[in-house]
Amino acid sequence: MNKRLLHAILIATVIVIIASCSDRLDMEDATHALLVGFDLDKENELILYSTSPVFSKNVEKKTRELRVKPQTNRQSRGKQDSYTEGVFQGRSIQVLLLSKRILQQENWFQLTDVWFRDPKNPLTPRIIAFDGPLSEIIYLNPKDQPMLPILLREMVETKNARSETVKTTLQGLHQQIREKGVTPIISEVRLKDKQIAITGTTLLDHKGKYADSLNMQETILLRILQKNTKKSVNLTIPIPGEMKIGPFHTDKVSLNADEIKVKIKTSFLKDKFQFHMHITMRVGLSELLFPFDVRSQGKELENKITEQVQMNFENLIKKIQTDKIDPIGLGLYAQAHEYSHFKKVEDHWGETLANADIHVSVKTIIGAMGTVK
């Protein structure tokens, strides 16, 4: 090895050492906000909440909640930093909680700008709407449950797997807001007797403003129409004509639907968009609370179920049309099949869809009746 190479190595080492370490931050020196919540107070001033884990042996409580009143989202970091032991970091945000008051504003989505602009921030926080002031849920800290961000995240994950709510990440929401043929849909959480519960989904309009809420069953139906069901889905429907005996709802039947096929036909007739949806599903009876001889009169039950399911779908569509939104994404079909007509109305697609004719026809086939007669 000659002298020149040694010189080169020495110089390179010095340069490397000088250049290094500029943005180093050890994990334990950071305070990780796992949950961020937006809310407005009575004077319509922005309140920002955060929940972060505490990594200290001698501290009883495992999380720390902060509440600041910044003017912007980015500014909140500095304010929160002044309260925390470590450097306040938003790199591991799991959940973005939005209060109803925030969702009632038209342009709240602008607050999230910093998360898209600064690439160190994650784009995967789950977006969850909360019906009420956030202080109720943030400071709840139930002792028999994991910390709030983990609890909410896991709730969304598991319920999403059963199609009972949706998993909308920040990036997903961004895409849904930017896309003209679809309106956003996010998870919804409520407090019921001081218990945190997922109640279904919140529908937003084109600008991200609150439009309506769906319960779990409606969410399942919506996801069927979105062709976005995972595994099989559970539905419980009443069968008219059956008696309700005592305090129990003995007129109900529970279904387990899989192999759901949805066909959506799009056309444009008489200045109106026409959508024909054909839904075929194979259902298995998982619960039947009234006596019924499925073996011999299966056809009859099938028809009754079909009728009920179809009614549920129609109600859902009516609801959507009254709200002038399009969470199903029918705009995408319109864009694909009737582009010229869609192009004219894309900026007020919700209103257009409200006037569109949407027909649903459902076909259910009882594929299984369980292991009892």
Binding site: L25, M27, E28, H32, F55, K57, R91, I150
Partner: protein
């Protein structure tokens, strides 16, 4: 420059010849004169035995000279002294006496005599003759052939090389009974005269590579080669690389299989390991057992080893990078767990990792040299210190212990000790890079390593051969090990001149 003394080429200064030369190299006809001269040459050599006697057949005075430790006493007593002293006969043999020794070399000069004595021959001086006879009565202390120690094998042979070069050659010859197996003998070292033999298949190995190897060995100017490792260091292409460029094996079956692939085996007398050259990076991941286990399992183990290589090199570095720079990629539940442990540790991750890795290396090194019963104690003490006390004391986090343990296990999987040593060294470099630049640092380290591997050569043949240059045909025996009947050709990386190894002849039993 300060460093030039360290790395300077002047490793060996020429030393003036120390022996006073005899008036001439030739041997005198006078026995007494010869013995006197011999004594003057070998003064202070108590193990030199000079036995005077009379040859019964011819009546000549004679002397038998040898170094007592290097000869076989039985052979001297029964096969040399007995026939010469007691047997009468016509004496019409070639040399005028009868002797029961297989190898008799007439020698004419003093340097030859000296060298023969030092190599364990016994020398017969006969009065009145100007030639002496070197008798092949060598019998130095020897070890029995045992199971190889560092390259233990489950299914392979259980014979390992020993310290006698000729026996090692015999062990290889047992696998390749072919006259194309040629041996080139070279003598290296001014003082030690190490016998170095190059074994190769003349019709397969590439002559250019052979010439290169031969040249390098011939140009050596050293006192002595004690061990094969020294030879490897002296002749390897890039001595500053952390990667070994030759395999040293102690398994005859491994050596034979390498020779059959067109490589060269260098047997150094007195060293129980044999040098294999040229080799490629992937050769260090192959093991003789791979070819005797079923191919699917062998493939799985290959993949495991490659994974282990990356784990052993990068895992601690990755830990540092993730904890110090990019903790957002940790899944949140793991983040909470790690955070809980890390919160107690007073050191930054780099110090933590270095501390732990150095401890591990120390324990490993301690275990190597210690006798087995004490070695166990090291293991127990180490296990308790590392596994429990250090975590309970809050010096090191649990996760780091897992990382270190996993790294250690991963490095034990690699079948070649030299490559493991390289991995151990590179790991520290990667850790430093990671502590300075995070994941970018690891990538820089990886790129540097790949670049270096591509540039590296072993005996002038590319080191990273099936990948750079790309030789798809050789990939059959890299990440995967395809069935033997799919590998009908010798690897291109060895530059074998005859590539056909065997046909696709997998017998199907009843001839269907």
């Amino acid at each position: 420059m300060l460093f030039s003394n360290w790395f300077g080429r002047k490793k060996y200064r020429s030393v003036p010849e120390q022996i006073n030369q005899p008036p001439s190299d030739t041997i005198s006809a006078s026995l007494a004169q010869n013995i006197t001269y011999l004594h003057s040459q070998f003064c202070q050599t108590p193990d030199l035995v000079v036995r005077h006697f009379m040859i019964k057949q011819s009546g000549d005075q004679a002397a038998l000279v040898y170094l007592s430790g290097l000869i076989d006493k039985n052979a001297i007593n029964n096969n040399v002294l007995r026939p010469l002293q007691f047997e009468t006969g016509s004496g019409n043999s070639e040399y005028g006496f009868t002797i029961n020794v297989g190898q008799i070399n007439p020698l004419l000069s003093w340097p030859q005599i000296e060298s023969a004595i030092l190599h364990g021959s016994s020398i017969l001086f006969v009065g009145g003759r100007t030639e002496v006879y070197a008798l092949g009565t060598q019998g130095w202390p020897q070890r029995a052939i045992e199971d190889p120690q560092i390259e233990a094998s489950l299914k392979g042979a259980h014979q390992g090389f020993v310290e006698t070069g000729s026996q090692n050659i015999a062990l290889i010859r047992r696998y390749i009974q072919n006259r194309e197996l040629k041996i080139i003998e070279l003598t290296v070292g001014r003082r030690g005269n190490s016998l170095v033999s190059i074994l190769y298949l003349a019709d397969v190995a590439h002559p250019e590579v052979l010439k290169e190897l031969q040249d390098r060995i011939q140009q050596l100017d050293v006192d002595v080669i004690i061990n094969t490792g020294e030879l490897a260091e002296l002749i390897e292409d890039n001595p500053f690389s952390p990667f070994p460029q030759f395999i040293t094996t102690e398994r005859p079956d491994a050596a034979a299989s390498q020779i059959l692939q067109g490589r060269f085996a260098v047997v150094v007398d007195r060293s129980p390991s044999v040098l294999i050259a040229p080799v490629a990076f992937m050769s260090f991941f192959q093991n003789i057992d791979d070819y005797s286990t079923r191919w699917s399992i062998a493939t799985f183990i290959r993949l495991l080893r490659i994974l282990a290589f990356f784990v052993a090199v990068f895992l601690p570095a990755f830990y540092i990078a993730v904890i110090s720079f990019n903790f957002e990629i940790i899944p949140v539940k793991l983040l909470l767990t790690i955070g809980e442990f890390r919160g107690r540790v007073p050191f930054p991750p780099f110090v933590e990792a270095i501390l732990m890795e150095v401890t591990l290396e120390m324990m490993r090194e301690a275990g190597v040299r210690l006798p087995a019963p004490v070695g166990q104690t090291v293991g127990i003490v180490g296990g308790i210190v590392i596994g429990q006390a250090i975590v309970q004391a809050g010096l090191i986090s649990n996760i780091m212990v897992i990382v270190v343990a996993f790294t250690a296990i991963a490095s034990f999987i690699l079948p070649n000790y030299d490559m493991v040593a390289a991995v151990r060294l590179i790991r520290f470099g990667m850790m430093i890079a990671a502590s300075m630049f995070g994941i970018v640092g690891i990538i820089i380290g990886l790129m540097t390593m790949i670049g270096h591997l591509i540039a590296l050569e072993s005996l002038g043949t590319p080191y990273s051969t099936p990948f750079a240059p790309v030789r798809f045909a050789d990939w059959k025996d890299t990440f995967v090990r395809l069935p033997l009947w799919k590998m009908g050709k010798r690897p291109l990386g060895t530059r074998a001149t005859q590539s056909q190894r065997q046909g696709s002849n997998r017998p199907k039993g009843d001839g269907k």
